[in-house]
């Protein structure tokens, strides 16, 4: 166990130094969520006037939760890019040879992904508060929102890691981005689920991301909704992705 933690600490430290000292890696992961926040909360605020839109907290708060969870998901994708870059440069292969407990690598990348997301999430939250976001949730409920975000971040980091361990190239970037992008946008992004109609309503009803977003919005507005389902979905996704990433790691080991 100590060996695993030592490897995890070293990998996390290196990933964070690499990410925080390289503006080309850091800036997009921060700018993208802020752009989405400005575009959605600012440009689409008239959507709250649609009959039936009754979210307690205004449109900025409504969109904040989506952007908050999106930043968690894309934080994982960016960590996946970092792993792929490590394989392209040959560094990951050397780590696989040197590490006594290779599962520590996965743990280290996941920890680095979380720290990176905390920075982005803090900036998105500050920007939303400055824009006048109303927060009605209690401290515990806001903790629930952060918990949902953490699960999303862990699941997406493990997904990105799984893809990177298998493909070992940055050219697989779209393979990491597109499924997460589509999964997020096939949920109630702009209006609550009840206001969606047609095929998007059907798809969103079965999409686990819907439960995560709905619960997050419930936590922020002080009216918890689908909280247990959201944590079940989040834990389930994280467990599934852990298996996917572990198998990918084994495949990478065999390729040494």
């Amino acid at each position: 166990m100590m060996g695993t933690l030592a490897v995890a600490r070293a990998v996390a430290r290196r990933s964070l130094i690499h990410a925080f000292t390289n503006p080309a890696l850091l800036v997009p992961s921060i700018v993208f969520p802020l752009v989405f926040l400005v575009g959605f909360a600012g440009g689409l605020s008239a959507v709250q006037n649609v009959p039936g839109f009754d979210f307690n907290g205004g449109y900025t708060a409504f969109q904040f939760v989506f952007v908050f969870l999106q930043s968690a998901a894309f934080g994982g994708v960016f960590t996946g890019f970092g792993i792929a870059a490590d394989f392209e440069s040959g560094f990951a292969r050397r780590m696989l040879l040197a590490a006594p407990h290779r599962s520590g690598m996965l743990l280290g990348y996941a920890a680095a992904g979380m720290v990176r997301w905390f920075l982005t999430a803090t900036l998105v939250t500050v920007a939303s508060l400055l824009a006048g976001m109303d927060v009605h949730g209690s401290g515990i409920e806001l903790g629930g929102l952060v918990g949902v975000g953490l699960l999303v971040n862990i699941a997406s980091t493990l997904f990105g890691a799984g893809v990177s361990f298998r493909t070992k190239t940055l050219q697989a970037g779209p393979l990491m981005q597109i499924p997460i992008f589509v999964g997020l946008f096939l949920a109630p992004v702009y209006v609550p689920l009840t206001l969606l109609t047609g095929w998007i309503h059907t798809v969103a009803s079965y999409n686990p991301v819907t439960a995560l977003i709905t619960a997050g919005r419930g936590f922020l507005s002080g009216e918890p909704d689908k909280s247990l389902l959201a944590f079940a979905c989040g834990l389930g996704l994280a467990a599934l992705m852990a298996v996917y990433a572990s198998r990918g790691l084994r495949r990478a080991e065999r390729g040494l």
């Binding site: 440009g43 992004v189 702009y190 998007i200």
Partner: protein
């Protein structure tokens, strides 16, 4: 422009078109990604048609032209990437040994991106019509829509070429994509300006040239023949094209002098 310059442009354009069409990785995302976003947004934001004074009967009609704009954005990336790749591989150095001039290289290089933009525009239009969109300006309006979309692609392609020529790095051109995307988000892409409630956002959208490009194209779909929207779109697209071309020519001349 003399016959020799036209011949030079033709040679480079022929190469650019063939090289672009041989790369499905450049064509498929240009066509698929905007259509995917259209499908999601047209359904997810369909309730906005219930906002008082919303100018269209369906959000599909309202959002259809965004696909043309995104196609133009991909054209910028394609044009810049192709030029940067030629710099990276040393092809531009070899061209310097020939009598080819920088403007001829630039115009020729844009041909591939324009070709993709043209194909993509036809697909967007066909898919939109099949999905139930209605072009208020009729068949002539649909034809003008494609022409304006090409002009928009030319304008963005010029911007992409500036980055490609300045940096000489395909990776840097790819990194430009989010920057241009910011301008899209800060425009009247998702809602008409008179329905944007946040004053600061409406002000930014009014200063953002992308708004006038979107509104010009959109007018053909939801309004019909709106002279004001069309001339604004035309002037904006021509202005960006000229600035982009001059900027890219200057950058390319500097690059060629350097090598």
């Amino acid at each position: 422009m003399d016959v020799e310059t036209l011949r030079e442009i033709g040679i480079i354009a022929n190469r650019s078109v063939r090289r672009t069409l041989r790369q499905p990785a450049l064509i498929v995302p240009t066509i698929v990604f905007p259509l995917l976003l259209l499908a999601i947004n047209a359904s997810g934001l369909d309730v906005t048609k219930n906002i008082p004074n919303f100018p269209a009967d369906s959000y599909l009609d309202f959002a259809l032209v965004v696909t043309f704009m995104q196609g133009g954005l991909f054209a910028a990336t394609t044009a810049g990437t192709e030029l940067a790749t030629d710099i990276e591989t040393g092809f531009l150095n070899r061209l310097q040994l020939t009598p080819l001039r920088a403007p001829a290289i630039l115009v020729g290089q844009l041909a591939g991106a324009m070709c993709v933009a043209f194909l993509a525009s036809l697909v967007y239009l066909a898919v939109g019509l099949l999905a139930g969109a209605h072009i208020a300006a009729g068949v002539g309006g649909a034809a003008l829509l494609v022409v304006l979309a090409m002009l928009v692609a030319l304008a963005f392609g010029g911007l992409g070429s500036i980055i490609g020529a300045r940096t000489g790095s395909a990776e840097a051109v790819q990194g430009m994509f989010p920057l241009l995307f910011v301008f899209f988000f800060l425009s009247s892409m998702n809602l008409p300006r008179n329905l944007i409630e946040a004053d600061w956002f409406r002000t930014i959208a009014s200063w953002n040239p992308i708004s006038y490009l979107v509104e010009g194209l959109r007018s053909l779909v939801i309004t019909g023949w709106d002279g004001t929207a069309l001339w604004r779109c035309l002037v904006t697209a021509i202005a960006i094209s000229v600035l982009g071309f001059l900027g890219a020519s200057s950058s390319l001349r500097t690059r060629m002098a350097r090598t």
